[in-house]
């Protein structure tokens, strides 16, 4: 019975194909009369065998096993056979691993999932989705190559940020500054690596990599697209995956640098911050940025715009859109656009390994210098600062502040550090935007 059905199906397919072929050949005979000059319009009748072979040659399996020698990468350059074949398979498996991290382990799923799926799509042979006319390429050109999406994300983050804790204890802003040592320490590390001849990073590339230490996704993407777009994929993936790993990376460093007594320091309760203070603050910071470092105003301006809308209290609808709809839509596009840079020919290069390595160093240095800064501040008279909140100076809002709180509670269950840690946390965002501005101004 089964055999009969199979035979019938095969016969049916053959008839269907041959009728299609016949139709096509009729068209083909008419075509020359219209004197078409286009080569692709003249259709030459092919035998069934040829057609099946032609179809088989266009499948993904063949494209992966036996790559087309003329295929160009999304940027229009020649690719090695490895990047066309095995490299793509490796990248697709890597995106599966990223799916697992995002879904099973909860690693920043909001961004990691779109990035990973974008990466999966970008590694499909033949379809060229990440090319200039594929939809990923269009998304990339629409908002990433001109740094639009990170700026919109920054507006949304601004609308979500509460500067109250910082305003009630201004000196904790210094902790957010100290953590930026992570950025510049890594910059030195990256140029030292190229000095040793291990990799060949230019100063621009080294700067783009080092900004991972700012632990701020949009800032990293902003700088990477400006200074080293060819490294964007690796930098974004490193940045977001380490931000997700903050609860694993930070506590050992925090514990190693503090004594038990320091970890139990209780901080004075935060004073009440008036609405007017919160309203004046964004404009004040922006004014300072205009005066001191105009290069940082795209980031700080967008951030403060979002925050100003929120604190004004009269544009609840706009505030709501920034915090929810707009940032969600932009996150989808940003993720897919970054994912398009996970194409094998751009990601599977030795530099990626070094970027991953430098990224974790950047995070660790930032955490350590934040904690050390808090210890230095305790040497001066005044209210004592619990050094555990220093680690929150790397931005990663609000994850880093939660980590400070958690570690603090391990030693004293009544010691609530969360709100105290939010101060350095949001100062870290401003600090990394300033650091980004400095790097841009150097290369401008």
């Amino acid at each position: 019975m089964k055999k009969i059905i199979m035979k019938f199906l095969a016969l049916f397919m053959l008839v269907a194909f041959s009728s299609v072929a016949a139709n096509a050949s009729e068209h083909a005979t008419e075509a020359p009369d219209k004197a078409s000059t286009h080569k692709e319009e003249t259709y030459v009748s092919q035998s069934m065998g040829h057609m099946i072979m032609g179809f088989l040659e266009s499948t993904g399996i063949v494209a992966l096993v036996n790559p087309n020698p003329n295929e160009l990468s999304a940027t229009g350059e020649k690719m090695s056979d490895f990047h066309k074949g095995a490299g793509r398979v490796i990248m697709i498996l890597l995106t599966f691993f990223l799916f697992w991290l995002a879904i099973a382990k909860g690693f920043e799923p909001l961004l990691l999932l779109p990035i990973a799926f974008g990466g999966l799509l970008a590694n499909i042979p033949v379809a060229n989705i990440a090319g200039p006319h594929g939809f990923l390429g269009v998304i990339y050109n629409m908002g990433l190559s001109n740094e639009m999406f990170p700026i919109i994300i920054f507006m949304g983050v601004g609308a979500m940020t509460d500067f109250g804790p910082l305003l009630s204890n201004p000196k904790t802003a210094l902790l957010g500054g100290a953590a930026q040592f992570g950025i510049f320490g890594t910059l030195v590390g990256a140029v030292a690596l190229s000095q040793m001849g291990l990799v060949d990073f230019t100063l621009q590339q080294a700067s783009a990599i080092s900004i991972i230490g700012g632990a701020d996704g949009p800032t990293s993407i902003f700088i990477a697209t400006k200074l080293a777009p060819e490294l964007l994929g690796a930098i974004a993936v490193a940045s977001y995956s380490y931000m997700a790993m903050v609860p694993i990376i930070q506590p050992p460093i925090m514990k190693a640098l503090t004594t038990e007594a320091e970890r139990k320091i209780k901080m004075t309760t935060l004073r009440h911050v008036s609405r007017l203070e919160k309203l004046v603050f964004p404009v004040m910071v922006l004014t300072l940025a205009i005066l001191v470092l105009p290069e940082s105003t795209p980031l700080i301006g967008a951030f403060m715009f979002g925050n100003f809308l929120k604190e004004s209290g009269v544009v609840e609808r706009l505030n709501d859109t920034l915090q929810n709809a707009l940032i969600n839509i932009t996150t989808i596009f940003l993720g897919l656009g970054v994912g398009s840079k996970l194409a094998a020919d751009q990601f599977l290069v030795p530099e990626t390994l070094f970027i991953m390595m430098l990224g974790i160093i950047a995070f660790s240095v930032g955490t350590a210098t934040g904690v050390i800064m808090a210890k230095i501040m305790n040497m001066f008279p005044g209210n004592k600062v619990n050094p555990l909140i220093g680690s929150a100076g790397v931005s990663a809002v609000p994850m880093a502040a939660r980590v400070s709180n958690k570690v603090g509670m391990e030693y004293d269950r009544t010691n609530m550090l969360l709100m105290h840690a939010m101060g350095p946390n949001v100062a870290g965002v401003i600090g990394s935007a300033v650091a980004a501005g400095v790097l841009i101004s150097i290369f401008a």
Partner: protein, 77 residues
């Protein structure tokens, strides 16, 4: 050229961290200044005095409504 690169990196570090700290210190000074001015000249209206009275009023209204409802219910019963 070879030795320059790391020295360049350190230069960036000094410049960058200098700017970050200068910016944040100015910001802290301005924040304190602003808070002082706001507390001195634009104090928030005493929220504490208003809030309880309004809730008390509300409570009285609620109590009145409940009593009326109970009375109504009893009359019916």
């Amino acid at each position: 050229m070879e030795t320059n690169l790391v020295i360049e990196g350190f230069k960036f570090m000094v410049l960058g961290m200098g700017t970050v700290f200068t910016f944040l210190i100015i910001m802290i000074v301005c924040m304190n200044f602003m808070s002082n001015i706001i507390h001195k000249y634009f104090p928030e209206p005493q929220a504490n005095a208003d809030v309880p009275s309004s809730t008390q009023k509300d409570n009285k209204k609620i109590v009145a409504a409940i009593t009326a409802a109970i009375a109504h219910h009893r009359r019916q019963g």
